[in-house]
Amino acid sequence: MARLTIEDLKRIKEEYKSTLTLREGGSRAKVTVHMGTCGIAAGARKVMEALLDEIKKSEVKDVIVTTSGCAGLCSKEPMATVEIINEAPVKYVQLNEEKIRKIFQEHVLNGKIVEGFALVMGSETAY
């Protein structure tokens, strides 16, 4: 007993098509929220919801959100990876709604990595 009517869907289709030109450039950024058992138990769903809310509010059309499984760092969950086109991916750890909103505003929209929340910066090997 779906309450969504054909008219609702038609309206959505029209709205979408009217902004289509804005979307033709393809995606500029991808955010992956880690949604394994550990991530979910630590609050990954709230993080993802906050992220979807930011995207809706900012009306950006070129950011993809997706989910992945456990990355092996369960104690650092919730985690998310931000990939800006032509830039190295950045993993953020121990997130909450506020942190992901800040990451979205600063990193995804303005290209500035939020160093305080990132897993690691710079080289992984010590010489």
Binding site: M1, A2, R3, L4, I6, D8, L9, K10, I12, K13, E15, Y16, K17, V33, M35, G36, T37, C38, I40, A41, R45, M48, E49, L52, I55, K56, E59, V65, T66, T67, G69, C70, A71, G72, C74
Partner: protein, 187 residues
């Protein structure tokens, strides 16, 4: 996991990993039988008998990054803690069905939680997978099939904010969220 909606999210992620193209989620509340039933059915790659036997062992996982897998053991535990049951059936190459039942009025039965949020996150994260969400409460019946909606939308991605918003509204209404919470508090 705090509530059943988070278990749903977790177990459906297994289906996603198994390459499912269509995932059917049934949530049924039956007051007269005092039963809550959850069934998740996918058309993913399935499991052989040996694997089915092992999946509820916390020290079995298909992950390569860790040697522990708690998703299904957690759901089994949640069901068994409130006089419920748990079962898995699967066929290699055909898909898997996970079922959990709960004694609805049991003091330890976890609340449903925000099922709308779970569906939203699943659809947003996997826009190309078809989801059927089916909710039954006694004689009341609600179904949301994203395949039907996708056909009507004619190329508009399922994860575009306009679609997600409409879906969320529909699911929340379909679940009768407020009504349900009242019942859980008072009943």
């Amino acid at each position: 996991m705090e509530d059943i909606s988070l278990h749903i999210l977790d177990v459906v992620e297994n289906s996603v990993d198994a390459g499912a193209r269509r995932i059917e989620i049934l949530l049924a509340e039956d007051a007269s039988a005092d039963l809550l039933l959850l069934e998740i059915k996918d058309d993913g790659k399935g499991m052989d008998e040996e694997t089915i036997r092992l999946v509820t062992d916390p020290f079995f996982t298909t992950k390569t990054v860790r040697r522990i897998g708690l998703g299904l053991p957690f759901l089994k535990q949640a069901a068994e803690e409130c006089s419920g049951g748990f079962s898995i059936s699967s066929e290699k190459g055909r898909g898997t069905t996970v079922s959990a039942s709960f004694k609805r009025s049991h003091i330890d039965r976890k609340p449903l939680g925000d099922v709308g949020a779970t569906m939203m996150v699943l659809i947003a994260g996997n826009p190309d997978i078809d989801f059927l969400f089916h909710y039954r409460r006694d004689d009341y019946d609600y179904k949301l099939d994203t395949r039907e909606i996708r056909d009507e939308l004619d190329g508009v991605p399922m994860n575009s904010p306009e679609v997600l918003k409409a879906l969320r509204k529909d699911i929340d209404k379909g679940l009768g969220a407020e009504e349900n919470q009242m019942e859980e508090t008072h009943g």
